[in-house]
C-alpha cells in the first residue's frame, strides 16, 4: 500500500533535515500512482500532486514522524480539505414544498437513493413525498411506488403516458393534499451527452424550482466521472452529490474528481441496498479510503 511504498522511497532520508524537491520527487510519483489506481482523474491527480509538492517542499522533517508518514499526512490533509473539510447538510429553504431533484447516469442508484433520502428526511421530522418522474425505464414508476409503500410515505401515482413535466406539475397539488413539505423527484437515468434528455431535465428544473439538485454518482466510476459531473453541473447547476455503492471495494477516486471539477459537496453516501443505508459524507474517511 501507499505507506509501505513511501517507506521504501524514504528509507535513505533519515537524518536529512528537510523535504526537498529531489527527495520528494519519487514520493510524489507514488502518490500520483496511488490516486490513479483509485480512479482519480488523470488531470485532477496531476494538479493535486503539484499542490502537495508546494506544501511539502521546505518542510522540516519532523521528529515524531518518518518522512513517508509526513508526506501521507500532508496528502491526507489536502485531500480532506479539497473534498469539503466538513460534512454539509441539505439546504431546504424557501417556499414549501421544497423540491429535491435526483439526477445522473443510468443505473447509478437514483431511485433507491430517492427512497433512502425520503426515509432520512421523515426521521428528521420532515414530511416528504415521492415523485416518480422516470417514464422511460420499464417498471421504474413501479419501483419507486413499491419503495414508497415499504416506507409508508406518499408517492404520486405517475403513469407512463405522462410527460415528466406534467408529472412534476401535478406533484405540487399532490404534495399539498398530503401536507408534504418536501418533493423528492426521481428522474430517468440519462447520458450527459444526450442533448435532448438534458434539455428535458432543464424543463423539469424550471417547473420544480428545486432547493437541491443532487447528482447521484456511482463510487466505482472511473475517468469518465469528470466529463459527467462537469456536463451535468454546466447544464443544470448541481447543488450536491450522492455517491453510491460505497459498500463495495471501489476506492472511490471519483469523489475527488467530481469535487475538483464542480466544487459541489458530496452530501450523502450510499452504503447498501437497504433503505436505511444512506450516511452523511465524511471527507476525512473518504480521503483514507482513496489512498488505500
Amino acid at each position: 500500500n501507499l505507506s509501505d511504498r513511501l517507506q521504501k522511497v524514504f528509507k535513505y532520508l533519515k537524518g536529512q533535515g528537510k523535504l526537498t524537491e529531489e527527495n520528494i520527487q519519487e514520493a510524489l510519483r507514488e502518490v500520483r500512482m496511488a490516486l490513479l489506481e483509485a480512479d482519480v482523474h488523470f488531470k485532477v491527480a496531476k494538479d493535486f500532486v503539484s499542490g502537495v509538492a508546494s506544501r511539502a517542499v521546505g518542510q522540516e522533517v519532523l521528529q515524531s514522524l518518518t518522512p513517508g508518514q509526513q508526506v501521507i499526512k500532508i496528502v491526507n490533509e489536502d485531500l480532506t480539505r479539497l473534498m469539503g473539510g466538513k460534512a454539509e447538510p441539505l439546504k431546504l429553504t424557501g417556499k414549501l414544498p421544497n423540491g429535491i431533484m435526483m439526477v445522473g447516469l443510468q443505473g447509478s442508484g437514483k431511485t433507491t437513493s430517492t427512497a433512502k433520502l425520503a426515509l432520512k428526511l421523515s426521521r428528521e421530522t420532515r414530511r416528504p413525498c415521492l415523485v416518480p418522474a422516470d417514464v422511460h425505464r420499464p417498471a421504474a414508476i413501479d419501483q419507486l411506488v413499491t419503495l414508497g409503500k415499504q416506507l409508508n410515505l406518499p408517492v404520486y401515482a405517475s403513469r407512463t403516458d405522462q410527460k415528466p413535466e406534467e408529472i412534476v406539475k401535478a406533484a405540487f397539488a399532490f404534495a399539498r393534499e398530503h401536507n408534504c413539505d418536501t418533493l423528492l423527484v426521481d428522474t430517468a437515468g440519462r447520458l450527459h451527452v444526450d442533448d435532448e434528455l438534458m434539455g428535458e431535465l432543464d424543463r423539469v428544473k424550471s417547473i420544480v424550482e428545486p432547493s437541491e439538485i443532487l447528482l447521484v454518482a456511482d463510487a466505482m466510476t472511473g475517468q469518465d466521472a469528470v466529463q459527467v459531473a462537469d456536463t451535468f453541473h454546466d447544464r443544470l447547476g448541481i447543488t450536491g452529490v450522492v455517491l453510491t455503492k460505497l459498500d463495495g471495494d471501489a476506492r472511490g477516486g471519483a469523489a475527488l474528481s467530481i469535487r475538483a471539477v464542480t466544487d459541489c459537496p458530496i452530501k450523502y453516501i450510499g452504503m447498501g441496498e437497504k433503505l436505511d443505508a444512506l450516511e452523511v459524507f465524511h471527507p476525512d474517511r473518504m480521503a483514507s479510503r482513496i489512498l488505500g
Partner: protein, 277 residues
C-alpha cells in the same frame, strides 16, 4: 497526440494520458508503453503514427482472447446465467439478448431470479413482452434457486433453445450474496449435467479499476465464461476490459450501446482499440 513529427517524451506522456483516461489503468498502461519503448530503443519504431498503430495492435491482440466460438445450438436448452454488480445493465441486456437470439430463429425463455429488488421481476416481464418471449417467475421474496429450478423444468418441457437467467445485482465482496449465486449455479448443474453453459458477467463501461476486482471475484466464486460491456454509447471507453482480458483471459462477447431492444452488438476488438486511439 496528432501532428507530432518525432517520437519524444512529450508524445509518450500524451499516450500515457490517453490510455489512463480510457481506464486501462496504471499497470496495463505501463506494460503497453514499455513494450513500445523497447521497439523504439531497437529502432523498430520511428514515426508517431506507427507508434499509435502499434499500440492499437497490442490492445487488439489482448482483447482477442482465444476462445471457442459461441454455439447456442450445441445444447438443448442452452443455459446462460447473467451476473454482475448493481445497476450495470443485466436485466436490460437480457432483453436485448432475447431479441437477438429470437431473431436467429431460436426459442428463448427468461428466468426472473432477481426476487429481491423492488419491481425487478416486473422489469424483466416487460422486457419479455417487448422481445415476445416467455418469462418464468415466482412471487417476490422467493428463493432465486427455486425460480432457477422451475425455469429449467419449463425450458425442457417447452422445448426451449435458450434459457437466460437474470440474477440480482450484488457486490462481489458480500460473501452471503455470492453464496446465494453459488446456490443458483449448483441448482442448474443438478438439473442438467453441463449447465449453465455460459456465465456472463455484465460490466458497466463507466466503471474504473474496480471492474477488475469484480471480474476476479466473480470468476473465482462461480466461474465466468464471457463478459458483456454496457453503456458504451456514453463517453467512457471501458479500457479496464483490456486489463481483465489480459489477466483473466475471459472474452468479451457483446457490448451494449443504448437502452433499446436492438442496442446490442457482438464485440469487435479492432473497433474497440480504434475508439481508444
Amino acid at each position: 497526440v496528432l501532428g507530432k513529427k518525432t517520437i519524444d517524451m512529450d508524445l509518450l506522456d500524451d499516450l500515457e494520458e490517453v490510455l489512463i483516461t480510457s481506464d486501462l489503468g496504471v499497470r496495463t498502461t505501463q506494460t503497453l508503453l514499455q513494450r513500445v519503448t523497447e521497439k523504439i530503443k531497437r529502432k523498430e519504431l520511428k514515426e508517431p503514427e506507427k507508434l499509435r498503430e502499434q499500440l492499437r495492435q497490442e490492445i487488439q491482440s489482448i482483447l482477442d482472447v482465444p476462445s471457442p466460438p459461441l454455439d447456442l445450438s450445441a445444447q438443448h436448452p442452452f443455459v446462460i446465467m447473467v451476473v454482475g454488480v448493481n445497476g450495470v445493465g443485466k436485466t436490460t441486456t437480457i432483453g436485448k439478448l432475447a431479441h437477438q437470439f429470437k431473431g436467429e430463429g431460436r426459442k428463448v425463455m427468461l428466468a426472473a431470479c432477481d426476487t429481491f429488488r423492488a419491481a425487478a421481476v416486473e422489469q424483466l416481464v416487460l422486457w419479455g413482452e417487448r422481445a415476445h418471449v416467455p418469462v418464468i417467475r415466482q412471487k417476490s421474496g422467493s428463493d432465486p434457486s427455486a425460480v432457477a429450478f422451475d425455469a429449467m423444468d419449463a425450458a425442457v418441457s417447452r422445448h426451449m433453445d435458450v434459457l437466460l437467467l437474470d440474477t440480482a445485482g450484488r457486490m462481489h465482496t458480500k460473501v452471503n450474496l455470492m453464496e446465494e449465486l453459488k446456490k443458483v449455479h449448483r441448482t442448474l448443474q443438478r438439473k442438467m449435467e453441463w449447465a449453465p453453459h455460459e456465465i456472463w458477467l455484465v460490466l458497466d463501461a463507466t466503471t474504473g479499476q474496480n471492474a477488475l476486482s469484480q471480474a476476479r471475484l466473480f470468476k473465482e466464486t462461480i466461474g465466468v465464461t464471457g463478459l458483456i460491456l454496457t453503456k458504451l454509447d456514453g463517453t467512457a471507453k471501458g479500457g479496464i476490459a483490456v486489463a481483465i482480458c489480459d489477466e483473466l483471459q475471459i472474452p468479451v462477447r457483446y457490448i451494449g450501446i443504448g437502452e433499446s431492444l436492438e442496442d446490442l452488438r457482438p464485440f469487435d476488438p479492432q473497433e474497440f482499440a480504434r475508439a481508444i486511439f
